[in-house]
């Protein structure tokens, strides 16, 4: 992948990423790779599905209801699993448009199909070896941080 300069015009809000990942080593690697990226971003890390729903869903007391620009979501999570988190995101009007990228150890066709049935934006399988995993995360960074346009985040045109 190749590096492209950050866009020079238009307001670019810092990209807010929610990472839902229960494996501490994976989380550290993901955070390290993405935070090193040239596009300014901030990662909020949660380790289980229930915490993710608390963070995202609007609450009676006015809590929750955070709107990250993009969500990186593991599937095998404690308390509430990733597919259920995805399902609830998609059935909540204020959250439905948020791109969700699954990053899971599972390459099960059933899991992939279910994720897409809940309109996952992309489904990635964690490589078993460290070097390939790092390459994947670099490419995820380039593609989603550098190129992809997110709803509610203004970028300059033709960058």
């Amino acid at each position: 992948m190749t590096l492209v300069k950050k866009p020079g015009r238009g307001t670019t809000a810092k990209l807010e990423i929610l990472l839902v990942e229960d494996d501490q080593a994976h989380a550290e690697l993901i955070i390290r790779c993405l935070e090193n990226h040239s596009i300014d971003n901030h990662i909020h890390h949660l380790s289980d599905g229930e915490a993710a729903l608390d963070y995202l869903l609007p609450k009676q007391d006015g809590g929750g209801h955070h709107r990250p620009h993009v969500i990186l979501l593991d599937l095998r999570l404690p308390r509430v699993d990733g597919l259920e988190v995805l399902r609830q995101i998609r059935s909540t009007d204020s959250l439905d448009g948020i791109p969700v990228i699954v990053l899971s150890t599972s390459r099960d066709e059933a899991d992939v199909k279910k994720a897409y049935s809940h309109h996952v934006n992309s489904y990635l399988v964690k490589p078993l070896d460290f070097a390939t995993f790092t390459k994947l995360l670099d490419d995820v960074g380039y593609y989603w941080l550098q190129w992809n346009h997110f709803p509610g985040r203004i970028l300059g045109g033709g960058h």
Binding site: M1, V4, R107, Y116, D139, W147, P151, H159
Partner: protein, 150 residues
Amino acid sequence: MNGEPLTILFVEDNPDHAELVMRSFEDHRVANRILHLSDGEAAVDYLFRRGDYGDPEKYPRPHVILLDLRLPKVDGIEILKIIRESEDYKTIPVVILTTSHAEMDVSRAYQYHANSYLVKPLDFEKFTKLMDDLGFYWLGWNHYPWPRGG
């Protein structure tokens, strides 16, 4: 990384953009089948096997759709809506590749569950880089809801 071939449906009316995209896919080391159509109506006919596109051997079901927004006959958002409302294609990944960076277009695309929204760079070299990165990501890393190959 996946090595099996993918079928990509590419809908783009600008012949210069189409040529750049087709050429960059040809360069990509993963063998794929790219089918290019230049208007929205042909895209819908293709997907639903109407008219000229009846033969599934010749016109196979795509794994992913690369879709411009400003298209003749049926525009990109309309096509996206039609795709998402159909039983057959509601889960197919759709990557928008357009000249528009207007917030309204971005919002509407995600509202109808576009998987990704990309803006064509004005600069030829950057456009080529975008296509390389798009290729690595969607042809290499992403997993699809139905099997690759064939």
